[in-house]
């Protein structure tokens, strides 16, 4: 089997894998910011869902994907601040707070959607100009690589022709790294996730840092939600996040709380999903046709296997999940 043929099969799967990994990546980075600062966030799913709804509404309202993005981020940040208030100011149980956020988003989105549009929680279908569409221009690179050649095929199917947010997601990775590992803000933020007392006695506000981290987390979840509702599909539908927030968390653990690992992990999960889709119904050599469900279960099984099997005890930032208090 020659390269061209392989590429013909592989390229679309890779492309689809990238598209599927984008919401994971946004969420995973969001979780990274939050947990690096010591705030565990089970509520990524909820924030993403809320953002998806808000962006769907806004994009339809003002006929612009950018309006969608802006409002999506706003709402997601609002939810993040609720979580922040509960876990930073009120020193509540962070996991519980996250779960509450998830339910709140699941309920409110559909409730309001139903009241406003009476379409079972769906927001109006978005027209092309109201969405982030895949970018056409390929800067002649395709031709440069030689039309029809495998590498051109790879370029056009895998790298080029995604929508803006896809590139934003992959841009967010180095950005996160620089901010967290190359600036004083990042130094403090990572320190506060490991030993808040040290940061406090160094004359830096623990709460201040953590609130900022939580806000960044909200912003990234906002991107994720907007991507779902305004880029990948044309409007919000109830529960459209379908557990991606949790997969992202798994990816975060898998990535040992590091940005570039996170990218790798999310791509892996994305590709798994894409492969599962592609393989549905196609007979496997040796095994023959397997029930659809096997492939549908694949990503979940692999998540568990990866968590238990390969990573074992990944140690999160020391102080994550522990409310900061000066009282002994």
């Amino acid at each position: 089997m020659d390269i061209a043929a392989v590429v013909d099969v592989a390229a679309p799967v890779l492309g689809s894998g990238i598209r599927l990994s984008v919401p994971l990546l946004f969420c995973c980075l969001a979780g990274l910011w939050s947990e690096r600062s010591g705030i565990v966030d089970i509520g990524l799913e909820g924030k993403m869902l809320a953002a998806a709804f808000a962006s769907g509404v806004a994009a339809a309202q003002w006929h612009s994907p950018w309006a969608g993005l802006a409002v999506g981020i706003l709402v997601s940040v609002a939810f993040a601040l609720v979580h922040g208030y509960a876990s930073i100011s009120q020193r509540g149980n962070q996991v519980v707070s996250g779960v509450a956020i998830n339910f709140l988003a699941a309920g409110l989105t559909v409730l309001l959607g139903q009241v406003w549009y009476g379409q079972g929680g769906r927001t109006p279908q978005l027209e092309a100009p109201e969405r982030f569409l895949s970018l056409e221009g390929d800067f002649g690179i395709g031709r440069l690589l030689g039309a029809g050649t495998p590498q051109a095929h790879l370029w056009s199917d895998v790298i080029a022709g995604h929508n803006l947010l896809v590139y934003a997601a992959f841009l967010a990775v180095p950005l996160t790294w620089v901010l967290l590992w190359r600036t004083s803000f990042g130094l403090r933020l990572r320190a506060v996730g490991d030993n808040p007392h040290a940061v406090d006695t160094a004359g830096v506000s623990v709460a201040g840092l953590r609130y900022r981290a939580v806000i960044v987390c909200g912003i990234l979840c906002g991107f994720a939600g907007t991507y779902l509702a305004v880029a990948q599909s044309a409007g919000f539908v109830r529960d459209m996040t379908a557990g991606k927030g949790f997969i992202a968390l798994a990816a975060l653990v898998f990535a040992k709380w590091r940005p570039f690992n996170a990218m790798g992990a999310c791509l892996l999960f994305g590709l798994l999903d894409a492969a599962a889709i592609r393989l549905q119904g196609t007979p496997l050599p040796g095994i023959g046709t397997v029930p659809v469900q096997v492939f549908q279960a694949l990503p979940y099984i692999l998540t568990v296997v990866l968590l238990a099997g390969f990573i074992g005890r990944a140690t999160p930032p020391k102080a994550s999940g522990v409310p900061y208090t000066k009282d002994r």
């Binding site: 459209m240 894409a274 549905q280």
Partner: protein
């Protein structure tokens, strides 16, 4: 007689742009014409089917139309409890003296859109996206494949199922991704039977400049010129008739099988897809329809033997 009709939708919800919505439209039409008020309800869990039906019954609603095969057990119970009220159920047979069971020959409608798809396809590769891998959906896909193969036996049909929870009927993102992957594999016409998920399918097809095929209601208008046609399942007619018959005292219980002959299923032909259906395709589909009606062609029903010969 003056009646107080009621509709009970399935989990998908009233506005699934699909068959629950079709039911709603039927009821609305009846309301507009006769200005008879009707009640309706969306259940949130299985325990409520029975509860809701009983609620209707207690308030003396009749006829009570339940949408979806999942309602069967509940209807059976409640209809027994209220023998002098009229009940109807769509998509399932409940054998009681006061229940009208309406089932559709989705396979025939699917066969027709399969024919159209085969005609419209240049790549000779088609796609099908179902919601959940359950018998009803296989009934759709089987007919579709049959129709397509009747035009060109070598034609290839990719089939994908969306998920395994209720969310599977409501996951346009996944739907879109499934469609995209079929398009990547060369499919240029994609038929969906996946409720809300289908919106994603049609969207993806439209975005990629390919053709989608709608289901249940006429979905041609969702992406004018990008939806080849829709497999019409006239749940709206079924509901409307149920109401109307009751009003006109022409109500009959028993099984009503609505196929092509009875006008229960068909393909959507309107301004939105005029340009897409070539004369040749039109001829082919009309011939197929005629053959089915005349019985010359019998479209295989997956439910008969849980197998698809095509």
């Amino acid at each position: 007689a003056d009646i107080q009709p009621a509709v009970l939708y399935d989990l998908g919800g009233k506005f699934d742009k699909s068959f629950n919505e079709a039911a709603f439209n039927g009821a609305e039409k009846f309301h507009k014409e006769t200005s008879v008020e009707f009640r309706d309800f969306e259940i949130q869990n299985d325990a409520q089917r029975e509860q809701a039906l009983r609620n209707f019954a207690r308030k003396g609603n009749s006829p009570i139309v339940a949408i979806g095969f999942t309602q069967a057990t509940a209807i059976e119970k409640v209809a027994k409890e209220f023998p002098d009220l009229k009940f109807a159920i769509v998509d399932m047979v409940v054998d009681l003296p006061n229940v009208r069971s309406i089932v559709f020959k989705e396979q025939e409608g699917s066969y027709l859109v399969g024919v159209l798809a085969a005609q419209a396809s240049k790549s000779k590769k088609l796609g099908f996206v179902g919601g959940m891998d359950i018998p009803l959906i296989r009934k759709f896909s089987c007919g579709y494949v049959g129709g397509a193969k009747s035009i060109d036996p070598k034609i290839e049909v990719f089939q994908n199922m969306t998920g395994t929870t209720g969310a599977a009927w409501n996951d346009p993102v996944k739907g879109g991704e499934l469609a995209k992957s079929q398009i990547d594999r060369g499919a240029d016409v994609i038929y969906h039977a996946a409720g809300g998920t289908g919106l994603g399918v049609l969207q993806a097809a439209a975005d990629a400049g390919k053709l989608g095929i709608g289901v249940d209601s006429n979905q041609n208008h969702l992406h004018p010129g990008k939806v080849l046609t829709s497999m019409l399942k006239r749940v709206d007619v079924a509901v409307y008739d149920a109401f109307a018959d009751a009003k006109a005292d022409k109500w009959t219980a028993g099984v009503k099988v609505l196929g092509l002959k009875e006008g229960g299923v068909g393909w959507a032909d309107d301004a939105n897809n005029k340009a897409l259906v070539t004369a040749e395709a039109r001829a082919a589909v009309e011939k197929a329809a005629a053959d089915i009606v005349s019985g010359k062609v019998v479209v295989h029903d997956y439910m008969a033997d849980k197998a698809c010969p095509y």
